[in-house]
């Protein structure tokens, strides 16, 4: 049985697909790990939807500025070339298609690229959406970063989302601990396999008919 790769390795893998010059929004949670693996010498500009481009890492202790937070309300820093703007401009950057890439977490992604990541629909839960729906439909490319399976062992890749939707047909690519999946008009196509995972195994775990890109090879796991 294969095991896949860890969160940090996955974050590093995603970082390799983010080109120099890209404007990128990293969603709250695991996607923020991607920033740890962006090459220090590359000019990749991070957007935080509460109103900043050019966001830097968390501050040193003692240098926390309560006026300088990211979308997760975590203190951050300002890099050279940063800019601030109000919320309507910030969301205009997404909705208007100016942002190149966003990386989001997910509860479920369907084979047609529908995303569910804001609510489990559980009774008595407090609904909260934040910028999830804006991000899902806004960026030029929407990447999802997630484990393939839930803690209960259910596939997060599904034929149709059962959780409340965040956006329809909005996901371009799903990076999981087992493989990378491209959302194509013909369904999900595996472009890279991790940790000895096989296509047959993925089909068994997801219950979906998957295709595999001719160039797909087991990833270099250095």
């Amino acid at each position: 049985m294969s095991s896949g790769i860890g969160r940090s390795q996955l974050a590093a893998r995603i970082a390799r697909d983010i080109p120099e010059g890209a404007y990128v929004n990293l969603g709250i949670g695991a996607p923020t790990l991607v920033s740890n693996f962006l090459p220090a010498d590359s000019e990749i500009i991070l957007h935080t939807e509460n109103g900043m481009l050019g966001m830097g890492p968390e501050p040193e202790p003692g240098q926390v500025d309560p006026d300088l937070l990211n979308a997760g309300k975590v203190p951050v820093t300002e890099l050279t070339g940063a800019s601030y703007f109000h919320h309507a401009d910030s969301f205009g950057m997404m909705r208007g298609g100016h942002l190149d890439i966003c990386v989001l977490g997910a509860f479920q992604v369907s084979e047609t690229g529908d995303l569910a990541n804001w609510s489990t629909g559980a009774p008595n839960s407090i609904p909260a959406v934040g910028g999830a729906m804006d991000l899902a439909i806004g960026a030029k490319q929407v990447f999802v970063m997630t484990d393939l399976l839930t803690r209960e062992g259910e596939s997060k890749l599904v034929s149709k989302c059962t959780y409340p939707l965040t956006g329809l047909a909005c996901v371009d690519r799903v990076y999981t601990d087992r493989a990378i999946f491209e959302v194509t008009p013909a369904g999900l196509c595996v472009s890279e396999l991790f940790g000895g995972t096989t296509l047959e195994e993925l089909e068994k775990l997801t219950g979906l008919a998957l295709s595999i890109a001719s160039a797909a090879t087991p990833a270099n796991e250095s």
């Binding site: 006026d67 300088l68 909260a128």
Partner: protein
Amino acid sequence: MISKVVDSVGAAVSDISDGATIMISGFGRAGQPVELIDALLGQGATDLVVVSNNAGNGDHGLAALLAAGRVRKVICSFPRQSDSWVFDELYRAGKIELELVPQGNLAERIRAAGAGIGGFFTPTGYGTELGRGKEIREIDGRFHVFESPIFADFAFVSALKADRWGNLVYRKTSRNFGPVMATAAAVTVAQVDEVVELGTLDPEVVITPGIFVQRVVAVGEREWLAGGKFIGRRDLAQ
């Protein structure tokens, strides 16, 4: 001579009536006009509708207003946070109404109100629970939902400095909803660290022109600045 400066936060909120709709700037605690909210708490108006990104943190500011039972309805994008126990309890007890709006739609609905736009079509929310029941239109091959403007009787914003005309500059990500909310209310009240002499603010860096601001009240320098310089802080902003 124009002077929008009022002497106290109490005077700045004294004419708010029961049932008023109030926009409150801030993203979490950054840019939350806490002194104005506290003054409103003391002022006594009730049955309020609050428009804000979040629904209060901890026990202070907006959370205290909610806890005092003064808010009938909250229009926001993200009420649930690790420290939103006041809202959570009221909501579960059915004691507060919630209109949940995707964050960008919330900002744009406020902007639309301030800009005299009678609503707009947006792809955000199409096909989701939050788009349900709304007018749908296909524009350039993409489905959009209709969103209406949000007006307010009052807007509370938190800025760094103002002059007596109400020109405002902000600080870092505490700007967030301030500039759009300032445009969308009949009366915008800005709390600022300092009111400076007219002519001191560089016209090129004014973010909110004074036309959008009716009242300005100085509340003193924020704890993490001294003479305008950042002096750092150890605790987390949350």
